[in-house]
Amino acid sequence: MALPSARADFKTRLQNLIPKLVLSPSLAMVLVFVYGFIIFTVYLSFTDSRILPSFGWVGFENYDKLFRLRHWDIAVANLAVFASLYIIISTVIGLSLAIFLDQKIRGEGFLRPIYLYPMALSFIVTGTAWKWLLDPGIGLEHTMHLWGWASFKFDWIKNRDYAIYTVVLAAVWQSSGFVMAMFLAGLRGIDNEILKAAQMDGASNWNLYRRIIIPQLRPAFLSAFVILSHLAIKSYDLVIALTGGGPGRATELPATFMYSYTFTRNQMGIGASSAVMMLMTIAAIMVPYLYAELKEKS
C-alpha cells in the first residue's frame, strides 16, 4: 500500500517541478546574458580596459573623463534635441492623424496601412532612402531647381547646425504612424454615450476633444512617451545609415559614441561607462512604467 502512494507522491512532485523546469532555461539566459552582462559592463566601467577587458580598478576615473569629453557633451546635447523633437512631433502627428481618421473617413482602410508601413522597415533602409532624398546634389533641392525654383535651398544634411533635424525627420517618418495606431485604438475605446451626452449639452467639437476625449487618452500618451523615448535613446542604426554621425560630430548620439569608443578608439572603459549612463536613463523611464503595469495587473 505504501509503494503506490510513494510513487504517486513522486509523480505529483515531478508534475509540480515541470513548470519551473520549463521556465528555467529562459530565466537562466536572461539572468546571465542580461543581468550578468550588465554587472560585468558596470564593473568594466570602473577598470582601465582599453582594447580588451582588463581588471585594474580605477574608480570613477572613466566617468570623470567621460563627463569632461566634449565629444560626449555633444552626443548628449544632440540626444536631448533629437529625443524631445522626435517625441513631440511624432505625438502631435500621430494624435492628429488618429483624430482625423476617426471621423468616419472614406478610405480609412486604405490610408491606415500607408501611415504604418514605415514601421516594418529597417532603420538602415529608412536611412538610405532619406539620405539620398535630402542630398542637395540629387534629392529634393535638385528637383526643386529642375522645377524652376532656383533659389530653393535644402542642405540640412550637410550642415552642421541642421543635420540633427534630418535625423528627427527620418525618425518621425518611421514611427509617427505607429503612434497614430496607438491613439486610434484609444479613441475607439472611448464610450460613445458620454460623447453624445456632452453634445446634447451643446459642446463644440473643439471642446469635446479638449475637455473629454483627449484627457481620456492618457494611457495612450504615456505608452507613446515611453516607447518613443526608449527608441530615441537606443537610436543607432538610423544615424549610421543617414549621416554616419556627421558632418563632423553634428549627429553623434550616445549610442554611436559608445560604439566608436569601445570598438574603434579602444577606450573600452569609457565606452562601458557611457553604456551605463544609457542604461540608467532608460531604467529611469522604464522601471516605474513596468512596475505600475505589473502591479495593476496582479
Binding site: V22, V30, A120, G139, L208
Partner: protein, 293 residues
C-alpha cells in the same frame, strides 16, 4: 450638411471635412514618397538620376540596378551582390524566430496557468530585459561568443536574438493566456492530464493568432536588426542590413544610387511582404509590445 457619425458621435461640417481629407492625403504622400522615389530611381540608369528629376518616371526603364544589387555589386571586398547576405539573414532569422516563439509560448503558459510564488518578479525581470539599451551587453557578449566558439557565426547571432527576443514572446503569450479560462486547465488536471498534454491539447489549438503575432514581431525585429549584426557577424554570417549599409557607404568608386535603391528595397522586401500579407497582426503585435493590457 453635417455628417453625423454613429461611431464617434462627433459632427463635422463640409469645410472641416475638406480640410481633414487634405491633411490625411498630404500625410499619405509624405509616407509614400521615399518608397516611391526608391522604386522609380532603382529602375533608371545612373546618368538619368544624376542629371534628372528624382520624382520623374524613368525615360529608359532598366532592371540592371536590381541585377547588380542582387548578384554583382561590390559589398566589402568581393563583388558578390547582396544575395549571400540575404541568405545569411534567412539562416539567422528562421531558427531564432522558431526557438523564441516556442520558448515564449511555454513561458507564457507557465506564468499564467502554473503560477508560483515570485512569478511576477521573474516576469518583471524578463520584461525589463526587452528594453535595455543593447550597448550595455555588447562587450561581454563579444567575449562570451568567443568563449563559446560562436564568434562571427550564424548560430552565435541566433543565440543573441533568442536571448534578447524571448522576453517579448513571453510577454505576448502571457497576456494572451491570461485571458484563457483557467477552469479548463484545472478540469483537465483533475482528469489526469499532465503539463505538456494540457498545453498541447488545450492551449495550443487556440493560440493561432498570438503565434502569428509573435512570429511576425520576431521576424521583423530580427530581420531589421543592425547593431548585433554589425558587432558580432563576420563576412560569412553578415546579415542583409549590415551588407546594405556597407554597399551604400562604401566610399570607393562612383556612387551608384540606383543600385543602392534597389538594394534597399531588397532588404525591405521580406518585412514589407509580411506587413502586406498580415498587417493586422503586425499592428496587434506593436500594440501588445507597448500597451501591456
Amino acid at each position: 450638411m453635417a455628417v453625423a457619425s454613429a461611431e464617434n458621435a462627433v459632427r463635422t461640417g463640409r469645410f472641416t471635412r475638406t480640410f481633414i481629407y487634405l491633411f490625411l492625403l498630404l500625410f499619405a504622400l509624405f509616407y509614400l514618397m521615399p518608397l516611391l522615389v526608391m522604386i522609380l530611381n532603382s529602375l533608371k540608369p545612373l546618368a538619368e538620376i544624376r542629371g534628372g528629376n528624382m520624382l520623374a518616371l524613368p525615360k529608359q526603364w532598366t532592371i540592371e540596378p536590381w541585377l547588380s544589387a542582387w548578384s554583382t555589386a561590390q559589398v566589402g571586398v568581393e563583388p558578390t551582390g547582396l544575395k549571400p547576405f540575404f541568405w545569411n539573414s534567412i539562416k539567422m532569422v528562421v531558427p531564432a524566430v522558431v526557438l523564441s516563439t516556442v520558448m515564449g509560448a511555454l513561458n507564457g503558459y507557465v506564468l499564467t496557468k502554473w503560477r508560483f510564488r515570485g512569478d511576477t518578479i521573474l516576469f518583471g525581470l524578463m520584461l525589463f530585459a526587452c528594453f535595455i539599451p543593447f550597448q550595455i551587453v555588447l562587450i561581454p557578449m563579444a567575449r562570451v561568443l568567443g568563449l563559446l566558439g560562436l564568434a562571427g557565426s550564424t548560430p552565435g547571432l541566433v543565440l543573441v536574438h533568442l536571448v534578447y527576443g524571448v522576453g517579448f514572446t513571453t510577454l505576448y503569450f502571457r497576456n494572451y493566456y491570461a485571458a484563457f479560462p483557467t477552469e479548463l486547465v484545472r478540469a483537465a488536471q483533475i482528469d489526469g492530464a499532465g503539463f505538456f498534454r494540457i498545453f498541447w491539447r488545450i492551449l495550443l489549438p487556440s493560440s493561432g493568432p498570438i503565434v502569428v503575432v509573435s512570429v511576425i514581431w520576431q521576424f521583423t525585429n530580427i530581420w531589421n536588426d543592425f547593431l548585433f549584426g554589425a558587432s558580432f557577424a563576420d563576412l560569412d554570417s553578415m546579415p542583409m542590413t549590415v551588407a546594405l549599409n556597407n554597399l551604400v557607404s562604401s566610399s570607393t568608386g562612383v556612387k551608384e544610387y540606383n543600385v543602392h535603391f534597389a538594394g534597399a528595397i531588397l532588404a525591405a522586401l521580406p518585412t514589407l511582404l509580411v506587413y502586406i500579407v498580415a498587417g493586422r497582426y503586425f499592428v496587434r503585435g506593436l500594440m501588445a509590445g507597448s500597451v501591456k493590457g
